[in-house]
Amino acid sequence: MTYMWALYAREVKRFRKLLLDTIFSPIVSMVLYLAVFGVVTANKSIGDISFLAFIYTGLLGMILVNSGFSNPGFALIIAKNLGAIVDLQVTPIKSWQIGIAYALAALTRGVFTLCLAVLLTIWFIPGIHLYHPLMLIAVVVISGLQYGMLGVVFGMWARGFEALTFVTTFVLQPMIFLAGVFYPITNLPAPWNTISAFNPVHHTINLFRYSFIGYTDTPLAVSWAFVLTVSVIFFVLMNWMCIKKLNEPVQ
């Protein structure tokens, strides 16, 4: 296991060296969203929850998903461009361990960014409290790993930055925007509400928001079932992609 942890430590070191891009950039984006929505939605609420707290928790969930996906995705593309992917091919680490090491580093970055974002911004959100801390930890760990594994899948698959940026822009971002980050999905017209109900990011955001402020717009059991099933699917996909791509010379 030393092997896998060394790779994990290297990937953590990598994002720590690029704090401005990896940690502060998503926090700045979040603060800008909050500033805009804070003005627009002042005094609005969804049930007992202020709209700002609703968006705030959605944005935190978005950070987790984005960080999870970007960290391994771009690290692997850089490694391919440099030729450093050969390090993964020749070292005696099993394919799934390579994927998990990258996913764990993604989770670490997600947690780090999340903690910093909460620390810097929670003071501006009135009446917010932590509703279910243990569940929050479980959701953060599972979701961070889940999107880390998805990042590994696309990082291994993509031949260059363009392909990965394409996935981020045309797949991940629409999924995030249809996940109920900025509004309850029940407010959406058909067929978007149905599409959102099958969107795995929605269930991550839903669980995250519930454990943070106690609000849910989809039954928790459904969201847990989705998150756990999708995590297993992403793991299988990740392992398959790692075996396939690490066994061939990088083009």
């Binding site: 290297r10 690029l18 690490l246």
Partner: protein
């Protein structure tokens, strides 16, 4: 004695963009005994790097491949155990731009299972032997080409592999560094590491290797002890140089660079014939030992 590397009928087929199959390595077999410095020679595109890729795990062999084993461990079925015994210096210089020299080596050796407490001393020892100790805390990207090459070697030896593959490690380095790398290779070999060396500098193979395999167009075209191969190619050869090259030549005489060669059947008779034919035009003449370079050219150009 156990073979350090056994390759049995290894093949690798690529499909080009028009889906035409291309066999980069075709039924290559070789066996390298433990403790050797072994040369792997071949022109560009011969299939050397693909073969090394298959040995190191960077390229999956075709299903019909018989076996590829490192000290008895199959790289196909027992990958991790086989990889632990192998160190590889790839042809391409690859450095992580974000990391210092120490960080590159620290994490990479960890990925080979070197315990963290042992990494520091091993890194310092390796860098010291390669003359890079003073660069320990510098960003790897700021090193010169030769230094990066040495860093690649340091990466490959930190986990103390039993089999080390160096894929053209002296390409683009100056003469002094080349000598230093040769010395390091000999030193590693003396300490028990089996070494496979691919190179375009044939004098290197001549200087370092006991045995070699020559590959061309994905196939083995010659295999054996370097000295035997040289002898085989020098058995019936008279080599001579002329003052005036534009003369009528004896049948069977061929030009090789500035020299001319003649394959003889009886040394004294044929030597007399050449001396009589060219008489005062001969600058030098001898019955020479073939250089590896000549053997290589003959083999890869299909004259053997």
């Amino acid at each position: 004695m156990q073979a350090a590397l056994r390759v049995d009928k290894a093949s690798k087929t690529y499909r080009s963009s028009n889906r035409q199959p291309f066999k980069a390595v075709n039924q290559v077999s070789l066996e390298i005994q433990s403790g050797q410095i072994y040369g792997l020679l071949g022109p560009n595109g011969a299939g050397k790097s693909t073969l090394i890729g298959m040995i190191s795990g960077a390229a999956k062999p075709d299903p019909e491949t018989g076996a590829i084993e490192i000290f008895g461990h199959s790289v196909i079925n027992d990958r991790e155990a086989a990889k632990r015994l192998l160190g590889i210096v790839p042809q391409e210089i690859v450095v992580e731009p974000a990391f210092t020299v120490e960080e590159v080596l620290y994490y990479f050796s960890g990925m080979y299972g070197v315990p963290s407490r042992e990494r520091g001393p091993r890194i310092k020892a390796a860098l010291d032997s390669l003359g890079l100790l003073d660069k320990l805390n510098e960003k790897a990207r700021t090193l010169s080409g030769g230094m990066k090459r040495r860093l690649m070697i340091a990466k490959a030896i930190l986990h103390q592999p039993k089999l080390l593959i160096l894929d053209e490690p002296t390409a683009g380095v100056d003469v002094a560094l080349r000598q230093r790398i040769w010395e390091l290779v000999r030193e590693l070999n003396r300490s028990g590491t089996t070494i496979i060396f691919t190179t375009h500098y044939l004098e290197e193979a001549e200087q370092l290797c006991e045995s070699m395999t020559v590959i061309n167009k994905g196939q083995v075209i010659k295999q054996g002890r370097v000295r035997d191969i040289q002898q085989e190619f020098s058995q019936n050869l008279i080599s001579f140089e002329l003052f005036d090259r534009d003369v009528e030549h004896l049948p069977g005489v061929r030009a090789i660079g500035t020299m001319f060669e003649y394959v003889y059947s009886d040394l004294s008779v044929d030597m007399s014939r050449i001396l009589a034919h060219y008489s005062g035009n001969i600058k030098t003449i001898h019955n020479e030992s073939a250089s590896l370079e000549k053997v290589f050219l003959e083999l890869t150009e299909g004259k053997a």
